[in-house]
């Protein structure tokens, strides 16, 4: 059953040099209980997509130019501010990359946790504190009874992220949006945080995980969307994309990931660099780095077409007949 559906989302930013689309024609669905990975390199628009879901795009300079976001059948982009506030945190909650900048430095952990509970539930202050404490214990914070009165800076990065996870899960939301939740953390801490998210996430809770790390997606997600230069280039089930990637960018990305090796070893790279969003080329955004590019790639933008079971790719090569006609 579809929990969230995003149709033709486009987000524009206006800067001194002009207006550009950070997200263009993005459509996807998340079902109840599903874990979806949104992968791409910096600047590809994955974080902006996540922020647009609950209208957290700073405006100006940003603007949702077109598209729709439906959560459980309700159009989030049309909601009044107070109605949207009830959705944020309660139905859709977020975990950000930098826990220290997401938490207020001036307030103790307990107060920050109970503040949200005050908006979204009818608990008294005392009940809320007790509830927050029980969640700190659940996410594995040792000595939670004392840590609840700590300031965020007194906790380690891993502990801060545990607090963020507790806050995100406390109100049992339908969807958790996690934007690079472990990028600032060490690998051993990352492994523990992911184990925690997997354990805590109840069966009906869906996860949208935004990351640049294919390994992380493999461990956490059922399905994956690959973005490149503001657009979705490929989406498929996790095993499918690793065993049968279709889009030349996905193929290049998978090959460029350094695997454990035994010494000096040349890696397969993708030549060139991501084009600036202010001057994307006409046609496919990947054409300049693509070794298969032909005339049509320089003329039109490829649409997402089916290239396997529940497997979409935006490449003319995936078109029936090779797309040259």
């Amino acid at each position: 059953m579809t929990l969230l559906s995003v149709e033709n989302l486009a987000v524009e930013f206006t800067v001194d040099e002009g207006t550009f689309r950070a997200v263009d024609d993005v459509s996807f669905r998340i079902s109840r209980g599903e874990s979806l990975g949104l992968v791409g390199e910096s600047g590809c628009g994955k974080s902006v997509t996540a922020l647009a879901l609950t209208r957290l795009i700073p405006s100006p300079p940003g603007r949702i130019a077109s598209g729709s976001v439906h959560f459980q059948g309700r159009d989030l982009l049309g909601l009044k501010p107070h109605a949207l506030r009830a959705v944020r945190g309660n139905d859709i909650s977020m975990i950000f990359q930098e826990p220290l900048s997401a938490l207020s430095p001036l307030h103790r952990v307990g107060r920050q946790m109970t503040e949200g509970l005050g908006f979204h539930s009818s608990m008294t202050k005392k009940e809320a504190r007790q509830y927050a404490l029980s969640w700190l214990e659940k996410v594995g914070i040792p000595d939670a009874r004392h840590r609840i009165d700590s300031y965020p800076f007194q906790l380690s990065g891993g502990m801060q992220q545990r607090v963020m996870i507790a806050m995100a899960l406390m109100l049992s939301p339908g969807l958790i949006v996690a934007d690079e939740p472990t990028t600032a953390l060490d690998v051993t801490t990352q492994a523990q945080i992911f184990r925690l998210i997997t354990e805590m996430k109840q069966n009906e809770t869906a996860l949208l995980l935004i990351t640049h790390d294919m390994g992380v997606v493999w461990e956490m997600c059922d399905r994956v969307i690959v973005m490149y230069a503001s657009r979705i280039v490929e989406s498929a089930a996790i095993e499918e994309i690793f065993s049968r990637p279709c889009h030349p960018y996905t193929i290049g990305l998978l090959e460029a990931i350094p695997k454990l090796a035994g010494g000096r070893n040349y890696l397969k790279d993708i030549a060139g660099q991501v084009p600036s969003p202010l001057n994307y080329p006409q046609g496919c955004n990947f054409q300049e780095r693509c070794e298969h590019a032909f005339d049509r790639c320089r003329m039109e933008t490829p649409e997402l077409v089916e290239c396997g079971e529940d497997h979409l790719a935006a490449c003319f090569l995936a078109y029936p007949g090779g797309g040259r006609s």
Partner: protein
């Protein structure tokens, strides 16, 4: 790893036989003051007795999590932090004992590439001025500044026409190439790469790693490659040293450390890496966080997190055991069968 190489001056140093860089017992401690009137001072033992050696044209990968002291170690070798003890020999010369003048001359041979490609470039200087500043200082210009700059840019895979541009006009990967060109301009023997590719996207990261491998071949360079990312390090380093809380806990040839990790911490690090396409492994054994370096645990510093900790681990610091190629500091191996470590059992100061 002959001890007497320390006595040899620059002239007698033979790159074929002697290590380019030889570090033993290196310590860098930071004092933490309490309040203004407090007498209490804590010491952060950022680097606490580290030893290793590096030959010419060799790459040592230094791996560890944040706060383990890997960056401080690199900075100490560069003279950016003051060493609290130990010895460093570079080309057979005692680096820590050189006069300021001698050290400045030696600096040319010892270059660095930092993690953040933008903040390590002066925003008000154009690329030509940035990468030829050292050449002018050391009177090493071959022809004109513009000519040398263009040649260096081409060498790192950038367009030689770009010499009059400023750092903000480049992408992250290009900026890191400029940093590499600047390091390369001095024709160094050793480049310390401190998380040099960590801030780059995967496809760009691969380009820069390949560039570093090419340059090493062409210029006979040695790298001390510092990174938290074992996968990256294993593609560039000939040997790997794993650091935990200021000490090297294990080292050896890259393939051996990756395929047969000995120290429980190395095993934990390897298990924690999410590897795409492989069966998802159970990660129950990964627990805890690095404790504060101001109050390191007694005995082996890893014992509170170690899945194989024994009674002795909390009491005594493990002996350092080394063979020809491998080095390990763990109680599990203190009663090692002789065939596993054919060489003598090292004690006290060890070189890796």
């Amino acid at each position: 790893m002959k001890k007497n190489s320390r006595l040899r001056g620059d002239n007698n140093w033979d790159p074929e036989k002697h290590p380019l860089l030889e570090v033993s017992g290196l310590k860098t401690w930071f004092e933490l003051k309490g309040g203004m009137f407090s007498r209490r001072t804590d010491r952060i033992r950022a680097v606490d007795g580290v030893g290793f050696s590096l030959m010419q044209n060799e790459t040592l990968g230094l791996v560890g999590e944040s706060g383990c002291g890997k960056t401080t170690l690199g900075r100490t070798l560069l003279g950016l932090e003051t060493a609290g003890g130990g010895e460093v020999f570079f080309r057979g010369r005692p680096l820590l004992k050189l006069s300021k003048k001698e050290m400045n001359l030696m600096r040319r041979r010892l270059q660095v590439v930092f993690q953040d490609p933008l903040s390590s470039l002066n925003p008000r200087m154009n690329v030509m001025d940035i990468i030829t500043e050292g050449l002018v200082q050391f009177k090493m210009l071959k022809d004109s500044r513009a000519g040398d700059a263009a040649r260096l840019l081409r060498e790192v895979g950038l367009d030689g026409e770009m010499i009059y541009r400023f750092p903000h006009e480049f992408s992250g990967g290009q900026r890191q190439r400029i940093n590499i060109a600047r390091a390369l301009s001095m024709r160094p023997d050793l480049i310390i790469c401190d998380e040099a590719v960590s801030a780059l996207d995967v496809s760009i990261q691969a380009q820069v790693i390949n560039l570093l491998l090419d340059l090493q071949k062409q210029h006979n360079l040695s790298y001390l490659f510092i990174s938290h990312d074992l996968s990256v390090v294993s593609n560039i380093a000939d040997r790997i040293a794993v650091m935990y809380m200021g000490r090297i806990v294990e080292s050896g040839p890259t393939a051996d450390v990756i395929e047969k990790p000995l120290h429980p911490y190395t095993r934990m690090l390897l298990a924690a890496i999410p590897v795409a396409g492989e069966k998802r492994v159970e990660k129950q054994a990964i627990k805890g966080e690095t404790p504060s370096s101001a109050e390191p645990p007694p005995g082996c510093r890893f014992h509170p997190r170690c899945p194989e900790a024994m009674d002795v681990c909390g009491r005594e610091h493990p002996e350092e055991i080394s063979s020809d190629s491998r080095f390990i500091c763990c109680h599990l191996y203190s009663r090692i069968p002789p065939e596993a470590f054919p060489d003598s059992r090292g004690s006290g100061q060890s070189s890796v």
